[in-house]
Symmetry: C2
Subunit: 321 residues, 2 copies
């Protein structure tokens, strides 16, 4: 939740004037997205979201993200659609930052998802995977298995201050995952961050997916594994197999899983848990003394990792092929 950048009146008017969307009627910073500054823009043509990309987004990645959203929207996937300026470009500059205007998406994220939400999520994710199969641009996953060990090292020497034995547990898991990480599974564009706050609903109906700023090329089933972690654990970190079954069934109705993908789920879920454990751990240990912002608890993902380590086979996720 953040608005980082103030925008000068004249510069904003000039930016909006470069689009064919009429005069500006309202402009409000919104508390959404932790990486960028987001504003709700109302003009004579309707409502839009204006995003200023702050330093955590690499400007070189923006054409991938914005072109992907255009590609998905053209295939009727509900997602924010970049609006082109009069000169045809979807990426501009405002307040010395890269800036893009996208369509406003109705809906709200669900703070306590129920199984029907998980089912709708699975179907929408599969629909997005299928729609992006012919998307030609490439962006490697910077947080794929090869990126985890360097991130582990960047966490520094104080890992065990979070909980005793954590460093050893991560080292052992890294060995396992690096030696057994699946090869040859179907690949394509994945969202890579489909947490509940990036999925909008109107009642029980999923109204859209947002925040594609981790999207990349990777194994499609790895996106499912991220969602099993993000959607199917209860607040007490017990695993809700009804939600997992709904998610997998919802997905498979749109894009059936291969036998190899299905069998790989426990390992992929371990990898996804480790990936978020590592980024949260890094943030936790990097937080400046006295900061008011509390980073997310990395141990939540250690507990999720422990669950997936205890799983015998993919049938633990409530589905058999």
């Amino acid at each position: 939740m953040a608005v980082y950048t103030e925008v000068a009146d004249e510069e904003l008017a000039s930016f909006i004037g470069s689009y064919d969307i009429g005069a500006l009627l309202s402009f409000k910073g919104i508390a959404e997205g932790v990486e960028n500054s987001n504003f709700l823009v109302h003009t004579e043509a309707g409502y839009f979201i204006l995003t200023l990309y702050e330093k955590r987004v690499d400007p070189a990645d923006l054409p991938f993200f914005l072109t992907l959203l255009q590609h998905l929207a053209a295939k009727n996937i509900n997602c924010p659609t970049p609006v082109a300026a009069r000169d045809g470009s979807v990426l501009g500059t405002l307040a010395e930052r890269p800036a893009a205007l996208v369509t406003f998406l109705e809906g709200m994220w669900v703070k306590r998802p129920r199984p029907e939400h998980c089912g709708a999520l699975g179907a929408a994710m599969a629909g997005m995977h299928v729609a992006a199969q012919d998307f030609a641009m490439d962006r490697p996953n910077a947080l794929a298995v090869s990126g985890w060990r360097p991130l582990f090292k960047e966490c520094g020497p104080n890992i065990d201050s979070v909980t005793p034995g954590l460093s050893e547990a991560i080292a052992a898991e890294l060995d396992t995952l690096e030696n057994n990480w699946p090869n040859g599974l179907p690949r394509g564009v994945i969202h890579a961050d489909l947490f509940p706050d990036n999925v909008f609903f109107l009642g029980k109906d999923l109204s859209g997916l947002i925040d594609f700023y981790f999207a990349c090329q990777d194994m499609l089933a790895y996106d499912i594994a991220i969602c099993l972690n993000a959607w199917c654990f209860e607040p007490d970190l017990s695993f809700n197999v009804t939600k997992a079954r709904a998610l997998l069934n919802g997905y498979a109705r749109v894009r059936p899983l291969t036998e190899a993908e299905f069998q790989a789920l426990p390992l992929l879920a371990r990898g996804a848990a480790l990936r978020f454990l590592l980024t949260r751990l890094y943030d936790w240990l990097s937080v400046p003394e006295g900061a008011l912002v509390t980073p997310k608890d990395p141990l939540e993902y250690l507990k999720k990792l422990r669950f997936h380590q205890s799983v015998d086979s993919a049938s633990a996720y409530g589905l058999s092929l």
Copy 2:
């Protein structure tokens, strides 16, 4: 800029359902207002602002604020208008806080006001003063002259750490103001916080006034004095007499100043400068060690006070009666 309170899905749906405004379509925290949590709400009936009142607002004051807004809206003053729930009430409860839904006001605040903005502000403030003349509810100004000495004492012994001699300067000014504060000037409802971020414009046209949570009964000309401080100094703290003249002329076109009000302006402007100097000083000295939020600089208002102390007569503000 803040959203303090998270709202549970079911509780929000139930709250919105108590109004006759159709189904909820979108709900976003907005970065506006430092005292309360504000959300932009889109329903089938349109756009609204939902405010959750946090601890800095006294719930006992809310009927005054909300009834005032209804009164002003009924007289065609552009301001957020409270929406009544099906049971007729304009004040509800959400997330264990007092909560109100008001209409959405188009427009944007102007970061660098020009003289024409100051003129429009003057006229709108006078219109508000006139429209509230028959408003029957009372709310004393907690930050009137009688409240400044107690606030000065609450600032504690470290005032001179901000700048040497500050404590003595404030004490001397308090003596002057307490002994010479005007009596018998026209009174009524004042906004008491009409800073640029509380005044919306569409182009050069003022589209509305917001954030009435300091509104109270006091001398009308004191509201003008607050605005002279908030609107007529340049970033380098030089006084822009063209802006002051525009503000006073804009005001007087709608509600002519009495001779006594006009002559009192320099003293009222000193009082208004001291009031914001004191609240900023209190916040400055109360900020916890290591906090990320930087409070506003109190010395900005010391410099403004110095300007008004140097003024011979009200004609220094660019207008003669």
